[in-house]
Assembly symmetry: C2
Homo-oligomer: 198 residues x 2
């Protein structure tokens, strides 16, 4: 290649998820050919984000301040606490639902084989928060995967230990989905837990 | 969202080709969760590339130096000049073929409707280079699109004007392709220009 800097840039783009050699090359050429100002903006935004975004002390979500705006907001319901695996899950719930309680972001899920236990997910801090007695409902919104379910089970037990009511979003057929294309497990669950029509 | 810096980062990722809101979000979270060092490297590489990569004075390819390593190399054949539309095309030819001549990168193609004429592609500089008399063959490797073909036609005339022999990579059935799936235009061309088997 004609430029070592260009080679470094292509290599650097490959840290992004889903970006291989060809896409990285396309991104580098695109920025150099047509988006130099945008490239500079991206460089600045990346450097600032990596440098200044940490985790909220209360909920472990990404935050620029020690306590994030949601946790320090006076208008949120402190009696409900929703546990999610990742900041992306938190954002999805915040955007899709009218939930006004608080969040707790695990930044992972229980996965003993990878050495991720309760300590790595900050569950001791979650426990002491439940012990404070302010939370009355723990909404366990981990992903419906094997590891997510195991984490949910653990969280459910933890909640009961502190006399907090655990709940979990319903599983079932997605809205707009067609029964024919729903996976067996989901369909079986949805069928078994059918409810009376109103 | 919980952090304005995070929002800026997601917005900034969208300058990349093929990256929409969801991918940008995924990239930002990925960098913050798992690749902070890689993110910092990408920020540095981007800033350095945008700042220091310009165009070679001779061939218009990307280069950190006024004249790129290929153009200043003593081991390349100065009698052959290959014209391509973009640096990516140049790289593809350099990697796939044993070509040892020089290149000329148009950084675009003739497109009168978009206001891209011979001047925007630096064809005046190409003409004066052909006038020097060193080049004996002009390999016109523009893309086989409508605009690429028009550009090729123009370049062919330009070459003849300076008594330089213009040539063009053969069109035909791709190696490893199946006749059944080759588009009609290509198949018709390949069939019409069939050559005797040796």
């Amino acid at each position: 290649m004609s430029s070592p800097l260009l080679e470094q840039l292509i290599e650097a783009f490959r840290v992004l998820p889903g970006v291989g050699q060809k896409s990285a090359q396309r991104m580098a050429y695109h920025v150099l050919e047509r988006e130099r100002a945008g490239g500079q903006r991206l460089a600045d935004a990346l450097a600032a984000a990596v440098d200044r975004i940490g985790n909220c002390e209360r909920c472990r979500d990404f935050s620029e301040t020690p306590v994030c705006p949601t946790c320090s907001s006076a208008s949120r319901d402190v009696h409900q606490l929703c546990v999610v695996e990742s900041p992306a899950d938190r954002l999805a719930i915040e955007q899709a639902t009218g939930y006004r309680g608080l969040y707790y972001v695990l930044q992972g899920r229980l996965s003993p084989l990878d050495g991720i236990g309760p300590a790595e997910l900050g569950l001791d801090r979650l426990a002491s928060r439940l012990a404070e007695g302010e939370v009355s409902e723990l909404i366990v919104a981990t992903n419906p995967t094997v590891e997510g379910e195991a984490t949910a089970h653990y969280l459910g037990q933890l909640a009961r230990q502190y006399k907090v009511r655990p709940s979990r979003p319903t599983h079932g057929v997605p809205l707009g989905g067609e029964l024919e294309y729903v996976d067996r497990g989901t369909l079986s669950h949805a069928f078994g837990s059918r409810s009376e029509m109103s």
